[in-house]
């Protein structure tokens, strides 16, 4: 177990941030480290360039796509949907996360399927639940929901419980 901890010291979050800033300049914003994981926001048309750079760079080597999903923020006008990428450098054992925001009217984001086969189902799932249109995806169909569904159920405007219920007083409990 010891070797991993030693290697981990080489590629620090600061070093990654510096590398990325050198390459992309001020385009990357909102650098944070919640619970130790380096997180940043990128413009949505840069997402593939960033993924490719992180993949190809000799020191960064973020070649494993751990997770890809979306979050809906209805109150952020013009940037309602966030697509979140979790990447893992398996050699140095470092994880990072980055987000691209897109408006909900034209939720077009470039697909990462050319770089990662694993992005195929993950992007289909994200499309299925949030309606993010992954441009360049080979087969962007619904995956978990029925094909006939005409809305994107994980968006916040679709409440979980039947809103016509009157037997529950939400003033006291829950939102």
């Amino acid at each position: 177990m010891q070797p991993f901890n030693n290697i981990e010291m080489l590629l620090t979050n600061e070093a990654i941030q510096q590398k990325l800033t050198e390459k992309f300049g001020d385009a990357l914003t909102n650098w944070q480290e919640p619970y130790g994981m380096l997180t940043f926001t990128a413009p949505k048309d840069l997402n593939l360039k960033i993924l490719q750079f992180l993949y190809d760079d000799e020191t960064l080597r973020f070649q494993f796509l751990t997770d890809l999903q979306a979050v809906h923020y209805p109150e952020k006008t013009g940037a309602e949907l966030a697509v979140v990428y979790h990447l893992h450098n398996l050699v140095d054992n470092v994880r990072i996360r980055f987000k691209v925001f897109t408006d909900i009217q034209t939720p077009d984001v470039y697909s990462a399927t050319a770089l990662y086969q694993s992005a195929n189902f993950m992007e289909r799932e994200t499309y299925d639940f949030f309606g993010v249109n992954f441009v360049g995806h080979p087969n962007l169909r619904r995956i978990l929901n029925v094909d006939e569904m005409d809305y994107f159920p994980m968006r916040k405007e679709f409440p979980l419980e039947d809103q016509t219920r009157i037997d529950k007083d939400d003033e006291m409990f829950g939102r």
């Binding site: 177990m1 919640p34 398996l90 189902f121 993950m122 978990l144 409990f173």
Partner: protein
């Protein structure tokens, strides 16, 4: 079968040279609700299209309305062959978010439970590989020992399959002596059984010829497809969350991570078998460490986090503070700190991740489950194309596809 051996179709015919075959959604050999639309040329699979989503249950949406502790029963139903790992993974995520420090004894008890679950899961998977290749006896033999594991769960938490085991901050109650006795019985009896199971299969000529070279994948492709867990390790990549980002004090233990080379069904089988041995070793070591706690320390089974861990019932009836905490926890009125966290554990099938965003309310703002099955299932068409139909069946069972984890 060569192309020329087919019946020549007349010009402009709507017939095709290949046969379309539905494998699933309900088929005895798929062990779950999966559909694969296969294009067959005789016995060979030309291409496959996988359909998933038959048991989608909107877990992520449900989680947005539930306080943290009510999400645990949801995680049971992901990979239901090893529910305790999912439960613990969720508890660990919550504890990281809430910054709860666990006593060592709880960590070790959790390791015992998680490794038992890993054995229960691998045991099912491997014996099903046996069943699908025509060897039923291994399955019947091992099943008895899953029963012993389930009895231990039952003793600890009261249920067997969908366990809802443990709480945020520890366990709901201390392990009883009976639980430890059952654990000892299992540790004593299982090695001989596993050895005999291996004797039946590992060097069995029929089994080897059936599984070697069946559904192989290279390490590079496996990584690109997002494989994790035993399936990735069978392809030769030694990635294990327990080693790479230790949780629940796995760093206190010595164990090895078995790897294969070819990533075929045989290697996946061997890797899972070896992982069962490693899990047995881990359980033994963890049990030894648990026994080293003496006096008051031996009674510790939860962390001191009154805002999230239910107080004892007798305190609820007699003490004001305990009553308030009890009420707030049960009604889910405790706000969770705002934050964003990705936390993962080594599930029986791979990296089981929880991506949790909290805006400081009583429920998560967004919760995403990274289900290893869902991600590696997309490699299935590539694994089976060009192979025989019967190989597809055995490849599917050796990938250990669990419908619950696929669909969330």
């Amino acid at each position: 079968m060569a192309q020329s051996e087919h019946i020549l179709l007349p010009e402009g015919s709507l017939e095709k040279q290949t046969t379309t075959l539905n494998l699933g959604p309900t088929h005895p050999a798929t062990h779950g609700v999966f559909q694969n639309i296969l294009e067959m040329d005789g016995e060979r699979i030309m291409s496959a299209v996988s359909t998933v989503g038959y048991i989608h249950r909107a877990f992520e949406k449900l989680a947005e309305r539930r306080p943290l502790y009510q999400i645990t029963p949801i995680t049971d139903r992901l990979n239901y062959c090893s529910s305790p790992i999912n439960n613990m993974g969720w508890h660990i995520t919550c504890e990281r978010l809430l910054k709860v420090q666990l006593p060592k004894r709880v960590d070790y008890l959790r390791i015992i439970i998680m490794e038992l679950a890993r054995i229960a899961d691998h045991l099912i998977c491997n014996s099903i590989v046996g069943v699908d290749s025509g060897a039923f006896s291994g399955f019947l033999y091992l099943m008895q020992y899953r029963e012993l594991i389930y009895e231990i769960y039952e003793e600890v938490c009261g249920s067997r399959l969908t366990t809802n085991i443990g709480r945020i901050g520890g366990f709901e109650r201390n392990f009883t002596n009976t639980a430890f006795e059952k654990l000892e019985k299992f540790l004593k009896e299982y090695p001989a059984v596993l050895k005999e199971f291996e004797n039946l299969f590992n060097r069995n000529r029929i089994f080897m010829e059936r599984t070697i070279g069946c559904g192989p994948i290279s390490g590079e492709r496996a990584l690109n497809y997002g494989f994790t867990g035993p399936n990735l390790r069978a392809a030769g990549v030694d990635y294990d969350v327990r080693v790479h980002s230790p949780y629940s004090s796995y760093e206190d233990f010595e164990f090895s991570v078995p790897v294969g080379t070819t990533g075929d069904t045989y290697d996946r089988f061997l890797v899972r078998n070896e992982e069962m041995w490693q899990s047995l070793k881990l359980i033994g070591d963890a049990y030894k460490k648990v026994q080293e706690f003496k006096g008051a320390e031996a009674e510790v089974f939860h962390a001191d986090s009154p805002a999230y861990y239910l107080p004892e019932k007798k305190d609820v009836y007699t003490k004001m503070e305990a009553l308030i905490y009890h009420f707030k926890i049960i009604m889910g009125e405790t706000d969770i700190p705002a934050g964003e966290l990705y936390s993962s554990v080594e599930g029986a099938n791979g990296e089981l991740g929880f991506y949790l965003i909290s805006d400081g309310g009583r429920t998560p703002y967004r919760l995403h489950f990274r289900r290893p099955c869902f991600i590696y299932y997309q490699a299935f068409p590539e694994l089976v194309s060009g192979g025989l139909l019967s190989d597809a069946v055995i490849t599917m069972s050796s990938l250990n596809l669990i419908a619950g984890e696929l669909d969330a």
